[in-house]
């Protein structure tokens, strides 16, 4: 029981990692990028290719694809999203859906149906574990969880305390007025897409390190990212982190109840949060809401 909980939290770290890029793009650009999962798989293949060809550690290869994915993000914004957003709310959804299908099929043509994994390139690290209170905790999942915390924390700090972060928030809040104070909304959108794609590169790599992937694995990754984002509430990145953990816990509870219940448990939790968000005051889920309530009570007292 305790073991499943710990494993779920570690898995939740991966979900948070894959979700944060999706949520970031939604928060900043109001775009739901349906090609998110496919782009993560593309990154995983790129890392695999580089690792295999140059006999490098996957941890080095991922650093090499970060700039590649950043440029892909910039192009995605300039060539596709910028035009699509001019055509209304639905068009970006349709175009990124189309892009996802194109990427999946290109990957299938290039790499075939075989599953791949990055873990063979890790040596001992792929199975090494810490023993804590009688539980065996894999080093790699811990690394992924810590990476998620570092990336989400880093993005959060950038958004809060740097000029770039302020400009990103201002553009998200009111793009017209952002222009009037001198913010180049186009530049900001490009940078945001590049940042989101760098997180995608890292999460694709994390997927490949933790297990296996194939050309059509993008769909499920998108689904996990989307579910974690909705559960956590798209408005804050730490919320999304919690969303990833809650999703993973729901999945493992599902698996305890029934051997086939892993995915169902997650979907069930997702639906509960989705309906609750639609029918109740969405604030109820945020930490801030409860904190401010407590402050009000204290002030009143």
């Amino acid at each position: 029981m305790m073991n499943s909980l710990v494993q779920a939290i570690l898995l939740g770290g991966y979900y948070a990692l894959i979700a944060c890029g999706l949520a970031f793009m939604f928060q900043v650009m109001r775009i739901i990028n349906l090609a998110h999962g496919s782009l993560a798989i593309l990154s995983a293949y790129l890392v695999w290719e580089i690792t295999d060809a140059l006999a490098l550690s996957p941890f080095i290869s991922v650093l090499m694809i970060l700039p590649i994915m950043a440029i892909i993000g910039l192009l995605l914004q300039r060539v596709i999203l910028e035009r699509a957003t001019k055509g209304g709310e639905l068009l970006p959804v349709l175009t990124t859906f189309g892009l996802a299908i194109v990427i999946d099929n290109l990957l299938f043509q290039q790499f075939g149906a075989n599953t791949r994994s990055l873990s063979p390139y890790l040596g001992d690290l792929s199975w090494e574990s810490y023993e804590v209170f009688g539980l065996w905790i894999g080093k790699l999942p811990v690394i992924v969880l810590i990476t998620a915390i570092v990336i989400i924390g880093g993005l959060d700090l950038i958004l809060r305390f740097t000029p770039l972060g302020r400009q990103i928030r201002a553009t998200a809040f009111d793009p017209d007025t952002a222009g009037l104070v001198g913010i180049d909304a186009r530049k900001i959108a490009g940078i945001s897409a590049a940042i989101a794609m760098m997180t995608v590169a890292i999460s694709g790599t994390a997927l490949g390190l933790r297990g296996t992937f194939d050309a059509y694995a993008g769909g499920p990754q998108l689904l996990f990212a989307f579910e974690a984002t909705i559960i956590g509430g798209a408005s804050s990145l730490w919320g999304v982190f919690m969303g990833g953990i809650i999703l993973a816990i729901a999945q493992s509870i599902g698996a305890l109840i029934h051997p086939q219940g892993f995915l169902l448990g997650g979907h069930f939790m997702f639906l509960i949060f989705l309906f609750a968000r639609i029918y109740f005051n969405r604030d109820v889920f945020s930490l801030k809401h409860w904190l401010s309530k407590r402050n009000e009570k204290e002030n009143a007292a």
């Binding site: 000029p163 302020r166 400009q167 928030r169 201002a170 809040f173 009111d174 017209d176 007025t177 952002a178 222009g179 009037l180 104070v181 001198g182 913010i183 180049d184 909304a185």
Partner: protein, 240 residues
């Protein structure tokens, strides 16, 4: 400094600004006057690059800026304080002001000078602008524009929704810009104040300029007539 010729701005088929031309020199203080819906905000937003221009030309410092984006115009020294303040409500006063430095134009304005100019903001420095009073919000909006060290400042409805006392304070702070040689174009509903404060009054009616005179050469009556479009009817009465 700022020159507009034959400007047309449309919302779909509707011509909100029609054939407007005007010339504003360096250091001019100009009041734009007109009834609700006359097209003042539309004109100012189009000049500032926040609305597409249907036809006509805008030039700023001898360069054509008809199709220049709003952010590029801020960089060249033209800032608009939009109607309704349009602050970033979930950010603090300080963060809103810092956003004004995005273009990194050099000049005299710093955060500390803004707080010296608008002392009412000092204790609100770290408050979210969504929770401020109207006067504090207006001061923040003006401060945010000043942080870009503009050569030409455009203010849309400075005094809307403010108490007379606060309006005086706001005008006193804009007054200090006059001495620095900043060109100012502002929308003011209070005619007396507009005449007192500015060198020139431009009156708009239904998207067109119907009066453009130095404030010394005109008076409240003449502007009021232009404001309501009474000039023609007076001529008609006279000819009858």
């Amino acid at each position: 400094m700022l020159s507009v010729s034959n400007l047309d701005v449309r919302y779909g088929q509707f011509r909100a600004v029609q054939g407007v031309s005007m010339n504003i020199d360096q250091g001019d203080i100009v009041s734009l006057i007109g009834a609700n819906g006359a097209g003042k905000s539309t004109l100012l937003r189009a000049i500032a690059g926040a609305l597409p221009i249907h036809s006509g030309r805008v030039s700023f410092k001898q360069h054509d800026v008809t199709t220049t984006s709003s952010s590029a115009l801020v960089k060249q020294g033209l800032s608009l304080v939009p109607e309704g303040r349009r602050l970033f409500a979930d950010m603090t006063v300080e963060e809103n002001l810092l956003l004004g430095t995005t273009v990194k134009r050099s000049g005299d304005w710093s955060i500390e000078r803004i707080f010296a100019t608008f002392p009412n903001l000092v204790k609100r420095r770290h408050a979210k602008t969504g929770n401020l009073s109207g006067g504090e919000q207006q001061a923040t909006a003006i401060g945010r524009a000043l942080m870009s060290n503009p050569d030409c400042l455009i203010l849309d409805e400075v005094s809307l929704g403010l108490s007379p006392l606060v309006v005086d304070q706001v005008y006193a702070s804009i007054d200090s810009l006059k001495d620095a040689g900043t060109t100012i174009l502002l929308v003011e509903q209070d005619l007396e104040r507009a005449i007192r404060f500015s060198h020139r009054a431009i009156c708009m009616l239904e998207g067109k300029i119907v009066l453009d005179k130095l404030t010394n050469d005109t008076n409240k009556e003449e502007i009021t007539h232009a404001y309501f479009g009474l000039q023609q009817s007076k001529h008609q009465e006279a000819s009858q």
